[in-house]
């Protein structure tokens, strides 16, 4: 699904402000996997995400999505992204129903009168946040957790093959974080959507995902496959920490 081959990203190349954000990164994410990337601030997680969505072009190396080098608009036709700010994933001036109606499919729209996908409403119900009972409510009136849940459901309504999550729980309270992460896990297991998630919350990396990738200083310093290595959740946290301390 995602293939990064010796990707290096240098910002402001050839100037005094030159900064190497990614160094020779190799990454392969198979279809249907749930990959979690962890690392401290400045480790290169966000740059890696920008390379995957086509926002940043690698200075060296290549990034392929489904075997092809795609432009940003093409990537969004087969994938979706949910960002840290809950307001980025929704249309705040539209009702929940209108938001779901637009998210039903990708691409340009015609002059038809669409409706929200019943499966999306069902997924919304499974979040147990009461959103499905207030479909006419404007999205701007929702809480941060409710907005992010709506953004998640919208992101998967069009059945994308790839879901990119850029610290999507960072601005939420612990209860909302738990609900959103349960929804994320359900999306991966029920719909088979490939997920690439960035977080700096070790507890989330412990509990969710099949593979944890640890990044530091623009490099991938460890890949931990939970299923293959049969690691207990409590062990994982210490493994990540040891990997991070070993390099410093």
């Amino acid at each position: 699904m995602i293939e990064l081959e010796r990707v290096t990203v240098i910002y402001n190349k050839g100037t005094l402000d030159e900064k190497v954000a990614l160094k020779d990164v190799d990454l392969f994410v198979e279809d249907g996997r749930f990959v979690v990337i962890v690392g401290a601030n400045g480790a290169g997680k966000s740059t890696l995400m920008k390379v995957v969505v086509g926002e940043v072009k690698p200075t060296f190396g290549v990034c392929r999505i489904m075997g092809q080098v795609l432009k940003e608009e093409k990537i969004f036709k087969c994938g979706s992204i949910v960002c840290q700010d809950p307001n980025l994933g929704i249309f705040p001036n539209l009702s929940i129903e209108e938001n779901l109606m637009l998210a039903r499919k990708k691409g340009f729209r015609g002059l038809s009168f669409g409706r929200a996908d019943p499966r999306a409403i069902e997924l919304l119900r499974s979040c147990e946040l009461g959103l499905e009972e207030n479909l006419k409510k404007k999205a701007s009136k929702l809480s941060g957790g409710q907005k992010q849940a709506l953004a998640m459901v919208m992101a998967v309504s069009s059945n994308p093959k790839l879901l990119l999550l850029d610290e999507h729980t960072a601005s939420l309270d612990p209860k909302s974080t738990e609900k959103i992460m349960e929804l994320t896990d359900r999306i991966n297991k029920m719909l088979g959507t490939t997920i690439l998630m960035i977080t700096h919350d070790m507890n989330i990396a412990e509990q969710y995902g099949d593979t944890v990738i640890v990044m530091e200083d623009g490099k991938i310093i460890a890949r931990i496959d939970k299923s293959k290595q049969k690691i207990q959740a409590s062990q994982l946290k210490s493994m990540i920490k040891s990997k991070l301390t070993a390099t410093t």
Partner: protein, 320 residues
């Protein structure tokens, strides 16, 4: 009162355009100052060349819509803020309007001709006609001239009001219907979150083009109808149009409060009528406090600024 309503509803069409650009798609656009004149100029020139009033109005509105399209194209293509792009287009349209009319202003004659027109031919009946007896329409037609038909009779008998109100209602209904469709819903969504449009795999620039074209189409329509209503087009008639329309929209928002009826399309309609009533009152009774009709634009600008300032202090949801 009928004349006030007529003028208020004519202004409402332009205010609806400004509402679309400033509120619905959230792209501050000053093109209406120029597209209003273009609408008027094209309509008058087409009427003079023998076109019917319907085709003249539609073509005039399309020409104004094209001006909005150009503003949006400059803004999206060269990544220039719409405000700056629209200032440039608006400035250019001043010259374009003079080119279209081949003069800074142009009256609508009663008959088309390729001959030099006399004063009577341009303005119709004069006081002298009553005393000496006029040539009469038949005389002009015998001379091979074609009557110029405008839809308004300016008699304040309700005929013009019905025509203007039905045009406005039809436009409002079509817009409301469009904004309910998936495309229209996405256009409304674009106004608040361009990124989400991009994530849905759609180029957000399409909505900038669409929004400003529709907005200026309505402004041009208003300009064309106003020219027919008043019997002339003048290159200065669009000056301050954006501020006046914005004041109308704000008035409508204040009256309706947080109740957004029909996606807010009623804000500019009600606001324009109230603005026109306030304008008439100011002109009729303002002299008592030393107010001159020419002060109205200054007062309008001060009103818009004070509302913006009040909203900033109150941290209101709606800002300009």
């Amino acid at each position: 009162m009928i004349a006030i309503l007529e003028q208020g509803l004519l202004l409402a069409l332009a205010a609806m355009g400004v509402y679309i650009s400033f509120r619905l798609v959230d792209l501050p656009d000053l093109t209406p100052d120029g597209s209003y004149i273009v609408g008027g100029a094209v309509a008058v020139v087409l009427l003079r060349s023998g076109h019917g009033w319907i085709s003249a109005t539609l073509l005039a509105a399309l020409a104004a819509g094209a001006a909005g399209f150009i503003t949006a194209s400059i803004s999206t293509r060269f990544k220039i803020h719409t405000l700056l792009a629209s200032i440039m287009v608006m400035t250019g349209l001043y010259s374009v309007a003079i080119r279209i009319m081949n003069a800074p202003n142009l009256p609508i004659p009663r008959f088309t001709t390729d001959k030099v027109l006399s004063y009577e031919q341009i303005v119709g009946k004069t006081p002298l006609d009553d005393i000496l007896g006029g040539l009469g329409n038949l005389q002009y037609e015998k001379e091979g001239m074609k009557a110029v038909t405008v839809p308004f009779n300016n008699k304040a008998d309700g005929h013009d009001l019905i025509l203007i109100a039905s045009t406005l209602l039809l436009i409002s209904f079509l817009l409301w219907l469009f904004l309910r469709t998936e495309l229209g819903t996405m256009l409304r969504g674009y106004g608040r979150n361009r990124f989400a449009v991009k994530v849905l795999g759609v180029n957000p620039n399409i909505f900038a083009l669409m929004g400003l074209t529709v907005a200026n189409f309505l402004v041009g329509l208003s300009g064309a109808l106003f020219s027919m209503y008043s019997g002339f087009a003048d290159v200065n008639m669009g000056t301050g149009m954006v501020v006046v329309c914005l004041a109308s929209v704000i008035l409508g928002e204040i009256i309706f409060g947080s109740k957004e009826v029909a996606y807010g399309l009623f804000f500019p309609i009600v606001g324009s009528v109230v603005y026109q009533i306030l304008l008439t009152l100011a002109m009729k009774y303002g002299y008592r406090i030393g107010f001159k009709p020419s002060d109205m634009k200054l007062l309008t600008a001060m009103f818009v600024v004070s509302v913006i300032a009040a909203r900033r202090f109150k941290k209101s949801e709606v800002t300009i």
